[in-house]
């Protein structure tokens, strides 16, 4: 086995951390160049060009084609000149450094990220859902990531699942989830909303008081109108006590009814009224909350689409693993339907087109598709 490939393998196994850099710099041409030399067919040995072209196009960096790479390892055995040719054909990633072509950090980290995707998926999948949610929440809080993931965990889990996650959080981190959220978000306008969301232990039965739902739809409408009219940022809505109260204490069936009345009264869905008023963290947190509570399948399908887009950033791609693993046992069927409705393409086809190797196969099994490659 070649030593640089050994180096690569060693770098990717064990405790490799994912590259946190924004990967939009890795545009498609670079990705093509990156994987091109690893397809032995295209440089040295003739092979089925069509098959390889299919593998390369639209990569966007979502996993690596392990079988092909492994066969490259075998074929390039004892042929250092081929590997040298590979490095030279690749000035973006290997800088000439005297006699050797030094590997650029970015290349290493990028490939590490690609190999790590599959590993992370397996680790996340194997964990107990409560521990998984607790770790996700902790990660958000201590890495200062945007609160979207926290909103997602708090709003899309059932009352008992959220409680279990909070219990796991106690055991893992010796604090309660709400105290950490309250502490980290204390200066943000959406602090009360977030604390309320993670502390919620909603009634789960179907009984809904129609009168109250109607009243609350009116109150929500008034809050949105007053924020828009006053020229204030929509953050004012997130701070509005009534809005926070309604969103963080009412049961989900009640909220579905409330949003239904909202649409009847104001002609538009509440998320449409909230979106498009700026893209600050505050606005997004509120919009995400409403989406997660009102239509989680639509929310998740949007997140998936964001991950499968060209030029998706690192967080967006991580979301693909997270959503596939966490929703696989729950509402994945609804998410697939929503995806088809919103984007006109089957979710499994989009994944198959963008992802590669074992990572792709794992995603497809989680998504519940029976896609034939």
């Amino acid at each position: 086995m070649g030593d640089e490939v050994q180096q690569l393998t060693r770098a990717f196994s064990g405790t490799v951390s994912i590259c946190h850099r924004n990967e939009t710099c890795f545009d498609r041409s670079i990705i093509l160049q990156l994987l091109l030399p690893l397809m032995p067919s295209l440089i040295i040995i003739s092979c089925d060009d069509q098959l390889n072209a299919k593998r390369i196009e639209g990569l966007g960096g979502l996993g690596v084609d392990e079988p092909t790479m492994v066969s490259a390892l075998a074929r390039w055995r004892k042929q250092p000149e081929k590997r040298s040719g590979f490095r030279k054909g690749f000035p973006g990633f290997f800088k000439s450094h005297g006699d050797i072509d030094r590997c650029e950090e970015e290349y290493m980290l990028h490939l590490a990220a690609e190999f790590a995707r599959f590993k992370n998926l397996m680790v996340l999948w194997a964990m107990h859902p409560w521990e998984r949610d607790a770790r996700l929440a902790h990660h958000v809080l201590h890495q200062h990531h945007p609160p979207a993931i926290l909103v997602e965990v708090a709003s899309t889990r059932s009352a008992d699942e959220l409680l279990g996650a909070r219990r796991a959080y106690h055991q893992l981190f010796h604090h309660s989830l709400e105290e950490d959220v309250a502490y980290r978000a204390k200066d943000k306008p959406y602090c009360n909303l977030l604390v309320g969301l993670v502390s919620a232990y909603r009634y789960e039965g179907p009984r809904v008081n129609e009168e109250v739902a109607r009243e609350e739809a009116k109150a929500l409408g008034a809050a949105v109108k007053s924020a828009a009219a006053g020229g204030k940022k929509l953050a004012a809505v997130a701070e509005n006590g009534e809005v926070v109260r309604i969103l963080t204490t009412r049961s989900k069936p009640h909220l579905v009814e409330t949003f239904k009345y909202y649409k009847e009264m104001h002609g538009r869905r509440i998320e449409e009224d909230l979106v498009g008023h700026g893209h600050g963290e505050e606005e997004e947190t509120l919009v995400e909350t409403v989406l997660c509570l009102a239509a989680p399948a639509r929310y998740f399908s949007k997140v998936m689409e964001g991950a499968l887009r060209d030029g998706a950033d690192h967080h967006a791609k991580e979301a693909l693993t997270r959503v596939a693993v966490t929703r696989s046992d729950h509402d994945m069927d609804e998410i697939r339907d929503a995806y088809l409705e919103q984007f006109g393409v089957k979710l499994e086809d989009a994944i198959a087109a963008k992802a590669h190797g074992h990572y792709r196969d794992a995603l497809l099994s989680l998504v519940g598709a029976h896609h034939q490659q």
């Binding site: 604090h175 309660s176 204390k186 502390s199 006590g241 009534e242 109260r245 049961s251």
Partner: protein
Amino acid sequence: MATNTVSQVVPSAEDAAALLKAFQGWGTDEQAVIAILAHRDAAQRKQIMLKYEQMYSESLMQRLQSELSGDFERAMYHWMLDPVERQAVMANAATKCIQEEFPVIIEIACANSSAELIAVKKAYHVLYKSSLEEDVAARTTGNLRIACLLQLLLALVSTYRYDGDDVNMGLANSEAKIVHEAVSNGTTDQEELIRIVGTRSKAQLNATFICFKDEHSTSITKALPHGADPTGYLRALRTSVRCLADANKYFAKVLRNAMRDSGTDEDSLTRVVVMHAEKDMKGIRSAFQRRSTVSLEEAIAKETSGDYRSFLMALLGS
């Protein structure tokens, strides 16, 4: 530790029969009822209720409510409920007139362990088809004056505190400062204070209270402004701090206040005795005795009378 003594041997069928006998004829043999029911634990009481209904095709609860009256009846009604349901029922009643009865909610939220509070909330879901949080929070509608009070109540009720003993002294110090500032502000800018009291673990809060006392040579409750308290927020804050710091001492104080010379507050008396008789009444009794010249039983004997008194005494184990 519980104070009421429980007999293990009597089968529920026998108890049910004895109760029926006590109900028959003119009037009720209240002493017989007390002699049985005050000396049964929650599981046994449930069995008796089932057996009674099975044997005589009527609800024991309803029969008791029709046979008994006044404070005695109210006490017995609450006593017969399952302990977790009892708290849910009391919490629900309190949400209906929240500005007067909020101490009940605070007691339930702060004196219970995290797991016990969750059990109460689960029972609440089943009984009232809504959550305790939403019923507490919904009181704000049209009543923004008490928004601060309700924010505190909601925070106390929603939290799922960490149960462990880990304490971060640096944090306790910094939060004691924040608390001091909020306390000096009166009733404005209370968000930080509510956040701390509503989310930190009890161990952490106690450390914070101690730091406060060390720094300012007075406890938080004494540092809070006395006097005008139109919304009840200050009283709620005082109640929650006391309850979180030392629940037994707090309940002993409630009992003392209930039995002050100017008439007895039977509701509070019943509530404390019935809710804690099979839980931690012994601790409350010791706390009461520490600051009183008479024992708890003597005080109750002096301030109450009749079957109500007998019932309370039985629950206290005398």
